[in-house]
């Protein structure tokens, strides 16, 4: 916690996203699905995805506030990951624009229309995502993984790549940046290891660090806590908050309600493919629609899993807080 606090105190001048101010602003909004934000970074209109007869996603309107940590929650099968895939170009909406004709789905990021862009262009527009199942490039080193995340390397052009002097300087800068990031994520000791040899939690961290190599305007984390050793969760949370404090918008999917409550500024709830509620974390979770949605899913065995995870998670927080208290008193 202290790490993040220091960062936010020593903040760059002119940084508009003071957490308290942002929260105060969000508090003034109507807590209804599809409510308009003052400065949305991502706006989604009428996006629909059907698999066979089943509608996985059907979102009428959604705005994601700039500079905030927005959590996307919902019971299993609510369509959260599919929604992520649609937005980032990894899947196409059923009502998407086709070569000829097509539907009226539209979404824009940072004022840029993304309807017809693929996954790589979405990422270059500044919207970088991670995956539920980590996608570390296993047979490449940690450093190579990081360097591939940079998007300013001219040597990635085949002709420039043939002439090292044209790209070596940028490479050195990127290596420095990668080392900084890895140090921040405490992976600097592993820099020359094969990414496949890292533990599951380290892979998550690496994936996040890699996504940051390109200085994205928004980072989208798909279940950043899933499969992570509880001892690591607190530092992950810190990293996410630090990102926000540095000006990166964060949108994340999570099952873990405590984490959601702990770090998010705004919460979007999905169920059966639709956005059923939006609001401040402390309020939306108790709204009737959300309770119903989760109760509907209560028969799923998943909730039990979540509980088990949460207990461990709570214990981890408790120890962390105890440690911090100790440090402060020292």
């Amino acid at each position: 916690m202290s790490d993040a606090a220091v960062r936010s105190n020593a903040h760059i001048e002119g940084y508009p996203y003071d957490r308290e101010a942002l929260r105060a602003e969000l508090r003034t909004l109507d807590q209804v699905p599809g409510v308009a934000k003052r400065d949305p970074i991502l706006t989604v209109d009428r996006i629909e995805r059907r698999f066979g007869g089943m509608t996985a996603v059907n979102v009428a309107h959604l705005e994601v506030p700039r500079g905030a940590i927005t959590a996307l929650i919902g019971p299993n099968g609510a369509g959260k990951t599919t929604f992520f895939n649609l937005i980032t170009g990894f899947d196409q909406p059923s009502n998407g624009q086709k070569l000829i004709g097509g539907g009226d789905a539209r979404w824009s990021f940072n004022g840029k229309d993304l309807r017809r862009t693929g996954a790589s262009q979405a990422a270059r527009a500044g919207m970088v995502r991670t995956f539920q199942l980590t996608k570390a490039l296993s047979r490449m080193t940690v450093l190579e993984n990081m360097l591939i995340g940079a998007n300013n390397q001219p040597g990635e052009n085949i002709f420039v790549g043939l002439i090292p002097p044209l790209w070596k300087a940028r490479e050195r800068e990127n290596v420095e940046r990668a080392k900084d990031l890895l140090a921040r994520f405490k992976l600097d000791a592993k820099i020359n290891d094969m990414a496949g040899d890292l533990s599951g939690g380290q892979k998550k961290l690496l994936e996040m660090a890699r996504a940051l190599m390109s200085n994205p305007a928004m980072i989208m984390l798909d279940e950043p806590m899933a499969g992570v050793n509880p001892a690591l969760t607190q530092s992950l949370l810190d990293h996410i908050q630090a990102l926000r404090d540095d000006g990166t918008t964060v949108l994340f999917v999570e099952h873990d309600m405590h984490m959601v409550r702990h770090i998010s500024d705004w919460v979007v709830v999905m169920a059966q493919g639709e956005v059923i509620a939006e609001g401040l974390p402390e309020e939306v979770m108790t709204s009737q629609a959300v309770v119903d949605a989760y109760l509907g899913a209560h028969h799923d065995k998943d909730l039990g899993d979540d509980d088990a995870l949460n207990t461990g998670f709570m214990r981890a927080i408790a120890t962390e807080i105890a440690d911090e208290v100790e440090e402060e008193t020292r």
Binding site: V128, F131, S138, E156
Partner: protein, 329 residues
Amino acid sequence: MNFWFELLQNILQIAISPTTAAFVLAAIGLNVHFGFTGLMNMGQAGFMLVGAYGFGVSVSYFGLGFWAAIAVAVGAAVVFAIILGIPTLKLRGDYLAIVTIAAAEVIRMVVKLAVLQDITGGPSGIPGNKYRPVFTELSPLPDGKTTILGITYANTGVDDWWTRIVAWGLVALFLLITWLLIRSPWGRVLKGIREDEDAVRSLGKSSYAYKLQALILGGIMGAFGGVVMALPAAMQPDSMGRPMTFNLWMIVLLGGAATIFGPLLGSILFFVVRLLLTSLAGEFIPSSLLNTQQTEQLAWVLIGLALILLVVFRPQGVLGNKKELSFNV
């Protein structure tokens, strides 16, 4: 003793022959496809065919000069790669395998069409003397013959030192290019695609464009392989069919996919071992038991078995590193 001396000389001859070089060139291209990018190109022989005929037809039918004909060969390989790549590179790997093998067969069938007899020579192909002169006239070597290590060839002629110099020069050039590219950020993205395409896309690289570039680059190398293959001999559609592609796979896997020198080592090993097998069998097994044709057939059986054993027990090949294996798990 004479037998052994001759065998040694034969080995040397085959190791430096333009055909071996042609295989190395095409195998370097296949290695760019498969070893570094993970593309299952089962039609590398098609690229060779396209290159060889692009060159041969330009000279023999359209009367172009050497450099223009080479440009046509390269252009044909690029077009072939784009036609193959656009529909398949967005799909799962085995689609590319099926489409490339099918396209290579289609090209071979078309080239063999008797309707095209005037242009491609139909099934019998184009005789070497119709296109070779534009190449031999570039030779700076003096007339006459030269003997190196007991091997004598004409300086410039049909099966000559000039062809060998150019062929192995090309091998050196392409090895240098792959070495430079694989160590470049471009090569890093290729490796990333081989590992996990979605991860690379999520980082803002158009994996499609990179795969297409790799397909084109490897295809051009294949096309040069085809040209080099045809220069000392005649152009034959059936000499660049499916067995050729499979041999190239054998070579790449033998030498070690995803290594720079794997294709070179693989080709030389492939040819030398085959020569050893057939020569030794020819010398020591009486022809009443095995005639030449049967020896040849058994050599092929062994090649097939070796391919299986290689893929199962040493997929990284002779030079490869198991950690950087190019088979996706």
